[in-house]
Symmetry: C2
């Protein structure tokens, strides 16, 4: 793994960097870049052109790349221009990137919570789609012009990427670059969780958290490829119609309902599979929702992500509440607990190949189709990350390497200003809300005090009644 | 579950008990028992004969049953004669038991280490084969004369058992009663572990501990129903030829070799599935042997069983070393840890039905065949348990309800005496060994002291050398 991370680090160290300011006048974005070859130019002759030879234009070769410059907020990912063509090592191909996918691991990485990304400065990005522009001499199964999906430990949020040929997969016909960039991480993750660890079969039930997210929508679609699978999906209420259309049988608004109760109402015996990207206390809840022979699959700690910057309290709480289990408990419950992270699987070429082949076959059969939430330009990566972190997406958020038009940039600047104002307003409102809440609390307290007083009064009344009764008894006795 | 255990308890409380002494003269074993109906007498008319009606011979109905009279050694399981026909509740059938299976859970139960058996006095036994002798009025899918395999929480080590019809399964044609009694626990356990939790597929590798045991031989056969599965099996060297014939690719003598090393030699990347019946430190070893996407399935704590009676030290050690795992560790390793125990699954009728149907179909296809190690009479249950606990079996140990012949009993008595002598001799030898070991330890200590002394001497020598060097230096300096 570390060996494969090396090129990224090396690039960061060796290449000249030049930060692209947001002001359009200073953006040298199309400077000196050779045109990407047309997709049809995939001849054998082109494939054998020695890519490592120093071409005359190499010195003037440049490309744009997003770079994480340090751990922190959205602004820590900057757009830079790199000079010099990436050198290809044995087994590598050069990909002209079209579209990149955004993942939770990228957000974690930005906060320094993901150890698979090399230390900053480094380019994030685990998946993309694009066209092969050059291949190393020993690569025989890829050729210039091949349209590919790419899955890599990191380093793909840029216009040109050198990656191992084994990390590329041929795109099926009629698949768009947008769809291709949305497939690798989410669908392979969902596929291996559901069909390897989960062993999903007809008539089973699955709980999918963040059902409107990238993995969530992929998992829902994959569940529907098996007969009569019941899907419980958590998402905020506004997304319920969409995820229901996508295949979720029972959408649950986790913000207003206790999802454990909601599941138990419909499925009193519990669930066959729980996909858990949250960690912390939600893992405990998921475990307790398992039927006999049920499988809990933990694949993240999204609960650690609270806000733009690392929130030590959220991290500590998630760690502290991290689920641990004894085999004796597993035995008595006939349960399984699994952990999954695609980032730690990149040496498993054969496993990934098989899963990808199965996923692409389902695509060809029309049984799955990536749902794109929104497309951003590289320049807008901050906005894209914010949307994902605030869970405002339904489906996949992607980045296109196509440069923004000048007008759009101006709009963008305006929008950013607007967004800032909005956020300030939100903060103010939040403060107001909190003040209101405090007031309500006070009122509640007062009410409670009143109630207590009433109770006391009632008690007194009862005592009086009792006394009266006793007196009556005594009178009766006396009468007897 | 507790509801289903109730009949056994009730029988124990309600019925007259009479302990059968081992002396033949006092054994009233065939007294007043009606002949079991022939297997061919399965007419619809017989099936509708009201079995709960008080027949004239009911009062004289008696049958033999093994009863755990208290927690402890092999002698705590006694053969008793019960009087009165067991009453059938709704949904139940009465089975004339032919052959019973012995399981590790029965040994644990005898020591008070298994909570699925009602408190003593109670009849152990989770599986048997036999012929249906009566059915409750509401039972429509079983009839008198049906040959069945039975899987029950407990209570089957007797000649006549009332069980839920859902706990019975029709025997395939040409299956013997011996084979039928060897199937339910071992094969359903192995099947669900390998194909539900384990999700076993071609080209994978599996570690089977106690590969010569009941679950071990069943699991080996089931592994061989999948293409190119590599089976590592631990067993003592004398059993290697047999288990190799049975399908184990790499037998490992766990008594003389470190099985972790042996596995790593052949499969450096590790294993896809580890079946772990041992618990304690072996669970840790199994976990560390897992490949990415590997599954550890813990299904017992045989390490707790050390000797005939409960060994508090072994129990405490196994508990203390009991494996527990954090989801973060699972995530980073892409691993799964599962717990399995058939005893906690008896409410899962559909699941068990499906697994049993699959197992019986494999039997019909000739792909699996229970391996019977040895058959004992009910009278010999102590001997049978000893053989299992000392792990001297290759395959299944079963009990037949056929009464022993008088001559055999005399031989048995002689054998028992011989065994006792053997055991006494063993104990003596063990003592001798321990004395020798102590002596060796003393010698080792002496050696170590000598070594220490030598080291000290060397140090002194070195010091002297250093001093000499320093002197030389000084001389040199002076010369300069």
């Amino acid at each position: 793994m570390s060996g494969e991370d090396a090129p990224t680090q090396q690039q960061n160290a060796d290449e000249q960097k030049q930060q692209v300011e947001k002001k359009p006048a200073e953006s040298p974005k199309t400077e000196n870049k050779p045109d990407p070859p047309p997709a049809s130019a995939s001849t054998e002759a082109a494939a054998t052109a020695a890519p490592t030879e120093k071409a005359p234009e190499e010195d003037s070769f440049s490309y744009r790349a997003l770079v994480l410059t340090g751990y922190g907020g959205y602004d820590k990912v900057k757009l830079q221009v790199k000079k010099g063509k990436p050198a290809l090592k044995n087994g590598e191909v050069m990909v002209r990137v079209k579209v990149c996918g955004l993942n939770f691991a990228d957000l974690m990485a930005r906060q320094g919570l993901y150890d698979r990304l090399p230390s900053p400065p480094a380019t994030p990005g685990m998946e993309c789609s694009g066209i092969i522009e050059a291949v190393a001499e020993d690569v025989t199964n890829r050729k210039v012009g091949d349209k590919v999906l790419v899955l890599n430990p990191s380093g793909l949020w840029k216009e040109v990427a050198a990656v191992a040929a084994t990390h590329t997969f041929l795109m099926p016909e009629r698949m768009s670059f947008e769809e291709a960039a949305a497939i690798p991480v989410n669908y392979i993750t969902a596929y291996l969780m559901l069909f390897d660890f989960g062993n999903l079969r007809p008539n089973q039930s699955v709980l999918i958290h963040m059902a409107a997210g990238g993995v969530g929508t992929a998992a829902t679609q994959l569940c529907k490829t098996v007969n009569d699978v019941t899907v419980f999906g958590t998402a905020s209420a506004s997304k319920h119609d969409t995820i229901r259309e996508g295949g979720v049988t029972h959408p649950i608004d986790y913000r207003t309902r206790d999802y454990v109760e909601e599941v138990r109402k419909i499925s009193p015996k519990g669930l066959d599979i729980v996909l858990d990207p949250l960690g912390g206390s939600d893992t405990h809840k998921g475990y307790n929702l398992l039927k006999p022979m049920g499988k809990l699959i933990s694949y993240g700690a999204a609960n650690m992500l609270s806000g733009q910057k690392k929130n030590l309290f959220a991290v500590a709480k998630t760690w502290y509440q991290q689920f641990s289990v004894h085999t004796l408990s597993l035995i008595q419950g006939n349960r399984s607990v699994c952990g999954f992270h695609l980032g730690y699987l990149d040496a498993e070429t054969e496993l990934i190949d098989q899963a990808m082949e199965a996923v692409l076959e389902l695509y060809r059969q029309g049984k799955i189709k990536p749902r794109i939430d929104s497309t951003y330009h590289l320049e807008q990566v901050g906005e894209a990350m914010r949307k994902m972190q605030e869970r405002n997406n339904i489906g996949k958020i992607i980045l296109t390497t196509e440069p923004m038009k000048e007008e759009a940039k101006k709009d963008e600047a305006k929008k950013e200003e607007k967004d800032k104002k909005k956020e300030d307003k939100k903060k103010e409102e939040k403060k107001k809300d909190e003040t209101k809440k405090e007031e309500k609390k006070e009122e509640k307290k007062k009410d409670e005090i009143k109630k207590e007083e009433k109770k006391e009064e009632k008690k007194e009344e009862k005592k009086d009644e009792k006394k009266a009764d006793e007196k009556k008894e005594e009178t009766k006795k006396e009468e007897n």
